[in-house]
């Protein structure tokens, strides 16, 4: 079924049309890669879905009830089940890995509930599992700011998984990772995509190939081609866009 349906969305920044009548549908479960040259609107697409940017026109429909995300705040969208990993790893450097994961855990988010919150055995168990999954078990009590760049990426992925979202939006997850770490990331994303929708923005074609999924090519704010990686890379328009006309 369709989990997320972006239809006819346009956004203009100071006269520049970043997104131009964009329509994309994501199913559940599904793994989808979004590629495109710089300025194609990949990150802006994620900004729109997560409520950071409000589109000028168009609708972003979510879930069985087809609620329009355009009318919701960032935190409401996140609570509805959309998690996002940013291009630049943004973790809370001043706090421990455990505190970072604990904040992301799928629990009540209201001030009073959080004030009264005590970690249950299940919560602690989940934090340990997540830390294990992203290879930070040894680092649980360390400051997130002391982690290496790659480890911060991992922590952010761990936080994303902790939210247990129905849709994961992942912006360049492999940036700054070693080849072994990249491989681990692809495994993790593929595993996550078995039960939920995952959208990955990536530049690295080798990474995309390993994901082995449907690919959407964006160009100048709209969809240029869609299909398997082999299919889209044979597309003459795509070749023109990537190699220059």
């Amino acid at each position: 079924m369709t989990l997320l349906e972006v239809s006819g969305v346009s956004v203009t920044f100071d006269g520049f049309r970043a997104i131009n009548n964009l329509s994309i549908a994501i199913g559940e479960p599904e793994l989808r890669a979004v590629i495109g040259p710089n300025g194609a609107g990949k990150t802006t697409f994620m900004d729109i879905v997560t409520g950071k940017t409000r589109p000028d026109t168009g609708r972003v429909l979510w879930g069985e009830l087809s609620v329009d995300l355009v009318k919701m705040s960032e935190s409401q969208i996140a609570k509805a089940g959309i998690g996002r990993k940013f291009q630049k790893p943004t973790v809370f450097e001043d706090q421990t890995v455990r505190a970072n994961l604990s904040m992301a855990l799928k629990n009540k988010r209201g001030p009073f509930a959080v004030l009264a919150w005590k970690a249950t055995a299940a919560d602690n168990q989940r934090i340990v599992e997540l830390a294990d999954e992203v290879g930070l078990t040894e680092r649980l009590e360390h400051r997130a700011g002391d982690l290496s760049h790659g480890q911060k990426q991992w922590l952010e992925i761990g936080m994303l998984l902790a939210q247990d979202p129905r849709l994961l939006l992942v912006d360049e997850p492999a940036a700054g990772m070693t080849p072994a770490e990249r491989e681990h990331t692809t495994d993790l994303l593929k595993r996550a995509a078995q039960t939920r929708a995952v959208v990955v923005i990536e530049h690295d074609m080798e990474f995309i190939r390993r994901l082995d999924c449907r690919v959407t090519v964006l160009h100048e704010g709209s969809v240029l081609a869609e299909g398997s990686l082999d299919h889209v890379t044979k597309n003459q328009q795509v070749i023109d866009v990537y190699l220059g006309r």
Binding site: S75, F86, G110, N124
Partner: protein
């Protein structure tokens, strides 16, 4: 994937009790208790008489300033909202209790006077006499509407909490909802404070304009108790309030809530994408700290004896931020140290306690030069000791990594 093997992870103990996790809280409460006992034993009213009544009052007032300083630390040091308006809430708490103190005492005095007449006075006459006694100074003899409950202690105590709380709630709701942050929010809070102060300066506001409320040190119901005793009572009340406030805030900032508000301070947008309603959290912190500021003010002004709109002027709130910065942001005891150290130093230097320094060509008169010293101190702390005085404790109890 590769994994660094570092020192063995510390024992995973996320469920330990709050006090065991925060030894500094026990230390603080313990020291506060010892200090209270020492002052009591040495006080003029109840002990050896080494500490004068006036000094007991100054120390009690300092404890109230420490209480508002920890509130400021929570809102600024932990949640990242540089509010330049918390002294307005402090002042409002003072006004709320001051209205009762003034009204009730005046009423007692008036009744005594009228009782000497041949005919017993009616309630109407008493009320009119009280009103003209209090408001004669601003050329009025009517009791303003806001004094409706001034005769009732429970009502005015409720207002100590409600007025600052509701003002903070309304102001915060408007500001945070519009996503006003950073320096713009600071300016907005300062504007609120200035507006409130200017409003209170007017004679027809109903709070006696620039005369303010006075005689607050006389407690109705205890008018024949000497100030030496009353000063110790208020000192105790201030110590208890500071202790409870410290416990409350230490608890608030220790758990996941503290984690979330520090995260808001460091990266507000990211917290939104985790699904937290950032505006709600800010509003909660802003309001609860305003309420505590109001309580601190309600304990401070009966010891000071007088409150006037100058107390609410923006400069007071700026001092508050300076205390917290000098003491060390983001740790509650730092705020206490900063407030106590700077305000006591200030009263020593400006109260003529400190000897003036004669440099031959030039004479440093501390009453004039105190602000220069404070300014230099603030700059020095900001540049060289960003963790403030409280940061020194990190060297004492350095945790082995």
């Amino acid at each position: 994937m590769t994994m660094e093997t570092t020192a063995a992870p510390q024992a995973a103990t996320p469920n330990r009790s709050f006090l065991r996790d925060n030894p500094s809280v026990m230390w603080f409460i313990g020291l506060l208790g010892v200090f209270t006992v020492i002052v009591t034993v040495l006080s003029e009213g109840m002990g050896a008489g080494v500490i004068s009544t006036n000094l007991v009052k100054i120390l009690g007032m300092t404890l109230c300033l420490c209480l508002i300083a920890i509130a400021m630390d929570v809102v600024w040091g932990y949640c990242g909202i540089l509010s330049l308006g918390h002294f307005a809430f402090f002042g409002l708490g003072g006004y709320a209790i001051g209205m009762w103190l003034m009204y009730a005492r005046t009423e007692i005095v008036i009744r005594d006077n009228l009782a000497q007449g041949a005919i017993p006075a009616t309630e109407q006459e008493v009320a009119e006499a009280v009103a003209s006694q209090i408001f004669g100074v601003v050329g009025s003899s009517d009791l303003p509407l806001i004094w409706t409950f001034a005769g009732s202690l429970p009502a005015q105590l409720a207002l100590v909490v409600l007025v600052p709380g509701l003002l903070a709630l309304l102001f915060g709701w408007l500001a945070f909802r519009s996503r006003v942050t950073g320096v713009y929010l600071s300016i907005l809070t300062q504007a609120m404070t200035l507006a409130l102060s200017l409003y209170l300066f007017q004679n027809d506001t109903g709070l006696r304009g620039n005369n303010g409320l006075s005689g607050l040190q006389n407690i109705p119901g205890a008018l024949d108790v000497p100030q030496a005793i009353i000063s110790v009572w208020f000192f105790w009340a201030s110590a208890v309030a500071l202790g409870l406030g410290y416990l409350l805030f230490a608890w608030v900032v220790s758990g996941k809530f503290g984690s979330v508000i520090r995260a808001i301070r460091d990266n507000e947008a990211r917290v939104r994408f985790l699904g937290y309603n950032v505006d709600g959290y800010k509003l909660f912190v802003f309001t609860i700290t305003a309420v505590v500021a109001g309580i601190a003010g309600a304990l401070y002004y009966p010891q000071a004896g007088i409150i006037n709109p100058a107390e609410i002027a923006p400069i007071a709130s700026i001092y508050l931020a300076v205390w917290v910065a000098i003491g060390g942001r983001g740790r509650l005891y730092g705020a206490v140290i900063g407030a106590a150290f700077v305000s006591l130093l200030s009263s020593w230097l400006t109260g003529g306690g400190a000897p003036n320094v004669d440099l031959g060509l030039f004479r440093i008169v501390w009453t004039d030069w105190w602000l220069v010293l404070l300014g230099l101190g603030f700059v020095a702390v900001t540049l060289f000791f960003p963790k403030g005085i409280g940061g020194l404790f990190d060297y004492l109890v350095r945790k082995k990594p």
